[in-house]
């Protein structure tokens, strides 16, 4: 078993699936010879050839649009958008076509594609490189939105996303790409989509998060444990469709919930989870549900970035307030 960081796990998942399914191909800007600007596709073109690892012209709209045409004709394209801030030109194609091709043809055609992009801040990148567009996609019917939080999860969830018969937006937390390594068995075993994973058991409060902010959530849970507050930590992993059952089951036990995410607060996905708790778990709650999210501000450039991203301190503060309220 190899020790892999998250970007290497993405690379291994792509290689495994390309090796085992000739319908899988990779396309995007600089994904071929250069192996991707983050090296997610490194070595794939040498191994599988330029016809299956396509350096496309520099146009995100057509990367998404041609992937749809390929998918409709039986291929399984994995399209890379180089940075999350450049994903917006794809939205017409993802919303108007990828997510609805199956429905509008009554299942005659479908769109088994994956749109991968590095997402979120924390690496002091230039402007337009630190956005977290998850909530734009979670509002789109017919799409899956998946966010891995570790190398193991990136490997298993990406395999599942490629094998899924419907379109998946796969948002890879940029700052986790090389943050840590994990043992990842390159055995082609996919993880299930549409389910939350329990990362840590506890009975005092449920901390719900996904992607990069699980780092801060786990660190906060460690600090809280030292104070005697035992937090349960859930990794949502697939934002849409949402496994609300697992969240409700946990909150029913703990009676408290703090939701943490890196995207802006208003209309963010945390609101959907909070609404689900209000609708189905209100009588289990001992305190109001709190959200720790990015402020509703434009993603700042590097100097203010650390104050923008949800911090361990903000999470601990929210948990303490929640504990005090009950």
């Amino acid at each position: 078993m190899a020790e892999l960081n998250l970007v290497e796990a993405v690379n291994h998942a792509l290689a495994y699936e390309m090796e085992h399914d000739p319908a899988v191909l990779v396309l995007g800007e600089d994904v071929g010879v250069n192996g991707g600007v983050f090296r997610a596709t490194v070595g794939l073109q040498a191994r599988f050839g330029p016809a299956r690892v396509l350096d496309t012209p520099l146009a995100e709209t057509a990367i998404a649009g041609t992937a749809i045409g390929m998918a409709a004709m039986g291929l399984k394209p994995v399209a890379e958008i180089q940075f999350s801030g450049f994903i917006y030109p794809t939205i017409d194609h993802i919303v108007n076509h990828a997510s609805r091709l199956r429905n509008r043809t009554r299942g005659r055609l479908s769109c088994p594609m994956v749109l991968r992009t590095p997402s979120g801040g924390g690496i002091h990148a230039p402007e337009h490189h630190s956005e977290n567009p998850e909530a734009l996609f979670t509002n789109v019917p017919g799409l899956r939105v998946v966010v891995p939080s570790s190398p193991q999860r990136a490997y298993g969830l990406l395999l599942a996303a490629i094998r899924d018969p419907d379109p998946v937006v796969f948002l890879e937390p940029t700052r986790l790409y090389r943050l840590f390594k994990q043992e990842v068995a390159d055995d082609g075993e996919a993880l299930p989509l549409d389910v939350c994973f329990t990362l840590r058991a506890g009975n005092d409060i449920t901390l719900v998060s996904w992607g990069a902010t699980l780092q801060e959530v786990q660190a906060a849970a460690d600090l809280l444990a030292a104070e005697g507050v035992m937090a349960e930590v859930l990794d949502v992993a697939t934002l849409k469709p949402l496994d609300m059952e697992t969240i409700l089951e946990s909150v029913t036990r703990t009676g408290r919930c703090v939701i943490v995410h890196e995207a802006a607060q208003t209309g963010g996905f945390g609101a959907e989870i909070a609404a689900g708790l209000a609708e189905h778990g209100l009588y289990s709650l001992l305190a109001p549900v709190r959200r720790v999210a990015a402020y509703d501000v434009v993603v700042p450039l590097a100097r203010l970035e650390s104050q923008y991203l949800p911090s361990v301190e903000r999470i601990v503060d929210a948990v303490r307030k929640t504990m005090e309220a009950s």
Binding site: A59, A64, G65, N96, P165, P241
Partner: protein, 362 residues
């Protein structure tokens, strides 16, 4: 200074409006056995359009986009396609779709508000009509790439209008297909109008065909009212693409004799007299004039053909009107391959309220 690039755009017309040959005709154009089915298909499209508009006016069909005056573009191109090719249509291309095997009642079902109208029983791989302008060019480029990757002798044939050539998707799709040398043929149905905006305000480019040249693709113009020219150009482009020669763009010059859709009123923005003059150039009349010259046609056969097409359209209308509305579950059952458990509660709600909702929703 040296010139590093020059281009020209050729225009082809074989038949003048009186049906007289202006140039030596391609072989197929001398064979009534080839031409008569095209003539029928154009008639069928026009009669279908007329009936569809009547249905809309009487509340039996939703908004509909007629192909009036542009029948030669769809029919001419589709008649040159092979069955295994794939049509990537816009919303005005039912003339092409009928030749591909799409049923008239399917087209009516779609415009009548039922997604099952895009579940074509005939051409299973053809794309459904594309409403967001020009996006289909990118889909066609991707489809063409799939054919090339799998070494299949198939071509993706994409239709769009003159207004669509102003969109980035048009150029991006062309550029990708050319960079990949993928088998894609793009047909610009230049009917002179993008709703109310005339061709001359759409672009300063002298032709729309020349937009292909920036992507490294040959662009040609044909008289879109001359089905011989349309079919001939399409056949050449298809053959070349199928043989690995890469994509092609054909600008077919036609005229939108009707409104943009049934929701439009073209008298608000264009002169009725100018439209009236265009009727002299329309494609059915032109082919009829030529067939009369060939002595392959007469008034009796015309009458018989109109009768037969009208009956076929009426039968399709009956089948459409007899189709019950889909159950509420149809909104859910093809959203994903398998409905996620997270959506079960919403489906249950929809079932609980099925056909129990009051007014306000049409």
């Amino acid at each position: 200074m040296t010139s590093v690039s020059q281009f020209q755009v050729d225009f082809t017309r074989f038949l003048d409006p009186q049906g007289e040959a202006l140039a030596p005709l391609p072989d197929f154009a001398q064979d009534p056995a080839v031409l008569l089915p095209l003539y029928r298909a154009m008639h069928l499209t026009r009669i279908f359009d007329s009936k569809a508009i009547a249905l809309q006016r009487t509340g039996k069909l939703g908004t509909f986009a007629s192909a009036l005056g542009q029948e030669a573009v769809g029919v001419g191109v589709a008649s040159a396609m092979a069955g295994e090719d794939v049509l990537v249509p816009s919303y005005r291309d039912h003339g092409a779709q009928f030749l591909r095997g799409v049923k008239m009642e399917e087209v009516l079902l779609y415009w009548g508000g039922d997604e099952s109208g895009s579940n074509y029983a005939g051409p299973r791989s053809d794309f459904p009509v594309c409403v967001p302008i020009a996006t289909q060019v990118c889909h066609a480029a991707g489809a063409a790439y799939a054919f090339k990757l799998r070494e299949e002798a198939r071509v993706a044939v994409c239709f769009l209008g003159d207004g669509a050539t102003s969109k980035g998707d048009f150029y991006e799709g062309l550029n990708f297909a050319a960079a990949w040398q993928a088998p894609m043929v793009v047909i610009i149905n230049n009917n002179q109008w993008a709703i109310s905006v005339p061709r001359e305000r759409q672009t300063a480019a002298r032709t729309l065909a020349q937009k292909a040249i920036a992507a490294g693709i040959e662009g040609v113009q044909v008289d879109g009212n001359d089905i011989v020219a349309v079919r001939h150009a399409a056949q050449q482009a298809l053959d070349k693409a199928r043989d690995g020669g890469g994509p092609a763009v054909i600008e077919a010059i036609s005229y939108r004799l009707g409104d943009h859709t049934t929701a439009d009123d073209a008298t608000r923005y264009r002169d009725a007299e100018a439209v009236e003059k265009q009727w002299a150039f329309e494609p059915i009349l032109r082919l009829r004039n030529y067939l009369l010259r060939l002595e392959a046609w007469d008034a009796k056969r015309e009458e018989q053909l109109v009768k037969e097409c009208t009956e076929a359209v009426n039968a399709a209308v009956e089948a459409y009107l007899a189709t019950p509305p889909p159950p509420v579950t149809a909104m859910f059952d093809q959203l994903f391959a398998t409905l996620p458990p997270a959506m079960q509660a919403q489906l249950d709600t929809a079932l609980r309220f099925e056909n129990k909702q009051g007014g306000g929703h049409g």
